[in-house]
Symmetry: C2
Subunit: 417 residues, 2 copies
């Protein structure tokens, strides 16, 4: 009896998980490696950061999702290096050989050559990031309440969000709502209604990947929530509590949140394939890498223009489709059939939420905003949230917050005294 | 117009919060100081530690609970010192003067003169403690799955719980269920069903504060869950991964959890009143301290035998009753009426849960165990859980776990790589 083919999957994000769920072959055994024990529903991470949901509501243990897959084992560990020609990866000092490798390690926050800004302006990629932002935003209000200096209070009650893509827009809208509605009656000396939320975007309109009309509608909805928008200006410098714009404006803020850039995992370098400036791998049309047909890259780490001329975007539907595509390729290969046609991205549409009852959405030729877009956003995000329990819990949270303007997860943990 | 009396409350646990909710007087303004931003429902903390509930489900922001009380302000901060004769406390370097002081800082884990054991055997008093235990227990299973050494696997899959009071019993039962049912199908190399949970208790039966028959019933129910019980033996030494008992037995364990001792906050020393060995203040019958009739101590920090000859226990109903008692005293005093009769503790009964459908309960002359006790436990804990949203969320979690044996909060956060 021939021994089974070892398929190693790096990363249990949308891409890696979709591959595992779609791939099944009697001649293969799969090892899924991740440095977290949970799959994270990243589109709702901003809700954890702004105290709308708690960590467990948007995360699901990987072992639990895949518990019925006896052909698959999950390994909690940190990928240290990848050796394509030796066909092995190193996880926590241990060698893990593979016949096929699926690289799905996703992206990380990028500070455009200014890694020192991370200390002053946290990004939002992991649960730990979200919990850090929640702690720091809530603590700034506590410090403002304890302060006797009105200028210091206003500084603490200023939140700068850098980057006008969906994450930045969602964070800015949720911060404004947190201050205007949720915290409004909670303090005695300060009025959280005086909070300034400032969104900074380098191009001329926010939500650049949407049609311009939707970007403008998004700006109107954000302004209605009290968010100040600075478009067409870049950040020159960030230091503790201070953002300096290229326009010369200096903003003092209690919290600075970074939602401006994403780059691929630095481990893409180990693949030896050509990469773009953000570290994304220039994969072949079937998602494998040059010279190594048994190594595939999926998710946010790929740079690819598909046969329809569409640049595959770094969004979860693209990662899921790529994972499913590679699953079909591998199944064919193990059945000694030829590889399938090149990967084609199917754009199901995109949406960004701005606040309670406010959003923008584009689905094919349809563009809409406001309440209908928000309902669509709610529906789509509930449908795709993995795990029945989470879905019910999140629906309940949203329903309760919608009725009462209260947020359930306003708990500061990890305080050090 | 006379200035208002400044009432300062230290601690937003059951005692401090009950005082604030019961006390209201037009001549008083209240400041509630806590070093966390949330009130914690401590009786369910073991569920957070064993991944049954998430932090936000048993914690409620203090500001949110008291948001309608314009006569009350909440201050997030660390109490550094108390100066009874100067009538002020110091919070984060700032002086806070008072006319009346309510000391409700509760207890902390005590290691009986061995503070060095804390590093090897975490206690369970705060959300951070619970999250630490959850992370370390879940990680031990992950490490066992990655290990190739059967002896090391068995060591990692051994959990020692020290202390057979309600917290220890609840932790031991929940750990056994986590291993036997929740994690059972999640691993490929290890069988979590082989997990050893060992409960160590110094006296001859667990649950010493219950009648002996209930202690024995509790032991039977724990054994049915697979928990090994060592009664009548004390711990001689704890080091990294090893517990040595006075019987000479040495147990190697992946996790050692400490539920054996509680002492009062070290700040009780600043009150200048006589204290017992655990640091509890020997209060006067009205809960004030000798020489300072305007300083009251409530909750776990008091050592008092009430006029009925009952030693007031360190449990939440006693803290709540004490808080309400002091509220009545202060209202009388501000109305220039004499102080009320001494504090009397009303024992409504006590219960401890052991696992799914297993518990012991004593209510007046009634003693019961098993399923009826478990239902009573469920009912009482839901009723007293503060916050409607939390109650619905927790009920849903319990219902879901009961049906599926799944636990929703099996998320490891705070991993460092």
């Amino acid at each position: 009896m021939e021994s089974k083919k070892r398929v190693v999957v790096l990363g249990a994000g949308f891409g890696g998980l979709a591959f595992c769920q779609a791939f099944r072959h009697p001649a293969a055994e799969i090892t899924l490696v991740d440095r977290q024990n949970h799959h994270l529903f990243q589109p709702l991470l901003y809700q954890v950061a702004t105290a709308g949901l708690s960590a467990a509501e948007i995360a699901q243990p990987i072992r639990s999702i895949l518990r019925d897959r006896t052909d698959l084992s999950v390994r909690l560990g940190n990928v240290e290096s990848i050796l394509p020609t030796e066909k092995r990866v190193v996880v926590d000092g241990n060698s893990l050989p593979f016949d096929y490798l699926i690289f799905a390690l996703g992206g990380r926050t990028s500070y455009f050559g200014h890694p020192e800004w991370e200390a002053f302006a946290p990004g939002l990629k992991s649960l730990a990031d979200a919990q850090r932002i929640r702690r720091e935003v809530l603590l700034a209000f506590e410090q403002a309440e304890n302060s006797l200096d009105p200028k210091e209070q206003q500084r603490l009650m200023t939140i700068v969000v850098i980057g006008g893509g969906p994450t930045g827009v969602e964070l800015a809208g949720a911060c404004a709502e947190l201050a205007q509605h949720v915290l409004r009656q909670d303090f005695r000396r300060i009025d959280p209604g005086q909070t300034r939320v400032i969104l900074i975007e380098g191009s001329h309109h926010i939500l650049g990947q949407f049609p311009e009309t939707l970007g403008i509608r998004g700006e109107e909805q954000l302004k209605a929530l009290g968010v100040e928008i600075r478009c067409g200006t870049l950040v020159r410098e960030i230091s503790q509590g201070t953002v300096t714009l290229q326009s010369g404006e200096v903003i003092e803020a209690g919290n600075i949140l970074w939602a401006a850039g994403v780059s691929a995992s630095p481990l893409t370098a180990a693949l030896g394939a050509p990469r773009d400036r953000a570290g994304r791998v220039q994969v072949r049309p079937d998602l494998s890498i040059p010279d190594h047909p048994s190594i595939f890259v999926i998710g946010d780490a790929i740079a690819l223009v598909d046969p329809n001329g569409v640049t595959v975007p770094g969004v979860s539907p693209a990662a899921i489709q790529a994972g499913q595509h590679v699953a079909r390729i591998l199944e064919s290969e193990l059945d000694a059939r030829p590889r399938r046609v090149p990967f084609r991205y199917w754009d199901k549409g995109s949406m960004a939420t701005i606040g309670r009852s406010a959003a923008v959405a584009k689905m094919g030729p349809l563009e809409f905003s406001g309440y209908p877009a928000w309902l669509a956003w709610l529906f789509v995000h509930l449908i795709f949230l993995i795990g029945f329990r989470n879905r019910v819990a999140v629906l309940w949270q949203w329903f309760y917050s919608y009725l009462t303007y209260k947020r359930g997860a306003r708990i500061i943990t990890g305080l050090k005294w």
